[in-house]
Amino acid sequence: MSELKLMKGNEALAEAAIRAGVDAYFGYPITPQTEIIEYLMNERPENRTGMVVLQAESEVAAINMVYGAASTGKKALTSSSSPGISLKLEGISYLAGAELPAVIVNVVRGGPGLGTIQPSQADYFQSVKGGGHGDYKLYVLAPASVQEMADFVEDAFDIAFKYRAPVLILSDGLIGQMMEKVILKDQKPRWTDAELIEKNGDWAVTGKKGRERNIITSLDLQSEKMEARVHRLQKKYEQMEKEDLRFEKINCDDADYLVVAYGSSARISQKAVELARAKGIKLGLLRPITLFPFPQQELFELANQVKGILSVELNTGQMVEDVRLAVEHKVPVEHFGRTGGIIHTPEEIVAALEQKIINNGSFRHHKTRESSLL
């Protein structure tokens, strides 16, 4: 039965993973996402569904365990937070190169380095611009609520298996740690071995019973083959852009100004839209749900309608680059960010909009760091 519960974002994700029929979770503790492995260990999913849960010796081992389970066609999940994701990038690049489906969760904290355990969106570049070595991209889902923490697990696996590619759920310490009501879906059965072989037997390594052998590798020493592989990956990314782009528009129909924000910034920006409208400023919010693919066309079109755009992020200016690219200098685009684990207040966002966009309508290419951070 689907169930209504009050849960932390991290716990909701863990419970949803069991219910989505995930085969295996491999992880290593790091704040602010440790509840995911703690919840799973406590739930004994091996008894509930047969799901394997293992605490690896490091993030490097955990992502390579995901690589191993994914090689065999299983649904494998891992989660971490920023410094841990940096370690996982080796494995993520191999997953992309070997064309393996898997889901990686990043509950982002502030950095660089050991940084802070507080929420941040400073891993945007790392998430959408590759991160690891080589020409690859990740399909990136950015939840903005505990409900989406739960729902996106299954969505992420659907995409991962549709494209045979790793998928990233990019959350942050705020969404991971906050409690909200969440509707949990019914338990889905895990694939039986026979179902798995039926679905993934043409590529997965399960033992070559009744067929020619399968090989999983990211190595192509012949340049032509390697180029073909890279082109095959690019085709997937183009298809993702066409078929699986996701975004949400709030109060955009009559908007004179636009905020672009994802995840927890979008939650706070939603309140800012209300405050601005109460003041008579027609503000709309575009929330990218997928950060790659990015709602470029939608932004391009909105730029014909609005007078200026504010990119609200918990960093010093990362997504704003993609917003500017999409808008092609049609209207001013500014960035408003907080870092260090500090989150914006809705009032600050409205103030930033007034200062940087409304009262500063001139088209500015150059801006100082201070004006960017307010």
């Binding site: 690589y67 090689s71 090989i215």
Partner: protein, 258 residues
């Protein structure tokens, strides 16, 4: 008349395994890797488990093992094979899973993955091809490079004071309770090849009986990396490597041999 025409099939001891793909080996002529690949395939074939076996070969000269071994195989990142194999064993417990790793792979970059997979006692076989050098990248120093041995990154010979002692990782691993059997072999003579074959078979038997982790070190020459002919390399191995890395059983059925 060919030599093979003279030998009666029933007397033939060594031949190419039916489970080798027939693709030309990318290993240097005279290198132990080829023999080791062939032996493992021979045993898997003989045991009739080729359709239930998954091999993991990471980076190093063995990276292309999937070109030669006609079974399902996954290629892993440098050093990570034991973690990759762990997940395969955990999610498909009824399969035969093995890793095939060099010394740079297993004893340097992958030390953590190796020790922890062994410590957890994963039900699989680890093959450790120890040639005392990084072969693939052109003969750099490995953790197992002997004292005084020259390599491209220890051009004056390995100095213990600055580079540490050659790592006896196999002895280290043998001490872990999760590890069921450990032995060290070499492939330079028929006698030794036969001994290694028996150990390989025992290791897959251990998997069948779910005994946990079996670890087989195979001392092998790297004639290219050592800058010797294959024969010289084998002689050098006997003279220099055997005293430091003695052959034989180190742990049998969960008990250390003293």
């Amino acid at each position: 008349m060919e030599v093979l025409d003279i030998i009666k099939p029933e007397n033939q001891v060594f031949c190419k395994s039916q489970l080798m793909t027939g693709n030309a080996l990318s290993y240097c002529p005279g290198c132990g890797h080829g023999t080791a690949n062939n032996l493992i395939m021979e045993v898997i074939d003989e045991m009739g488990i080729s359709e239930d076996t998954i091999g993991v070969a990471p980076v190093g000269c063995s990276v292309l093992a999937y070109d030669f071994m006609n079974i399902d195989m996954t290629q892993a990142a440098h050093g990570r094979a034991p973690a990759v194999a762990t997940a395969i064993v955990r999610t498909w417990p009824e399969k035969y899973v093995f890793t095939y790793q060099g010394d740079g792979d297993l004893a340097a970059i992958g030390t953590a993955e190796t020790i922890h997979a062994c410590n957890r006692g994963e039900n699989m076989v680890i093959f450790f091809i120890n040639n005392g050098i990084y072969g693939m990248t052109g003969g750099q120093m490995a953790p197992t490079t002997l004292e005084g041995m020259k390599s491209s990154t220890s051009p004056y010979g390995r100095e213990i004071a600055t580079m540490g002692s050659p790592l006896k990782i196999t002895e280290l691993i043998a001490n872990l309770p999760g590890v069921y059997s450990v032995s060290r072999h070499a492939l330079h003579t028929h006698k030794h090849v036969r001994k290694a074959r028996i150990a390989i078979k025992q290791a897959f038997e251990n998997t069948r009986l779910k005994k946990g982790l079996s670890f087989i070190e195979i001392l092998s020459n790297c004639n290219s990396g050592w800058k010797m002919t294959p024969n010289e390399a084998n002689e050098w191995m006997v003279e220099n490597m055997f005293p430091y890395f003695p052959l034989g059983d180190i742990k049998v059925a969960g008990k250390l041999k003293v």
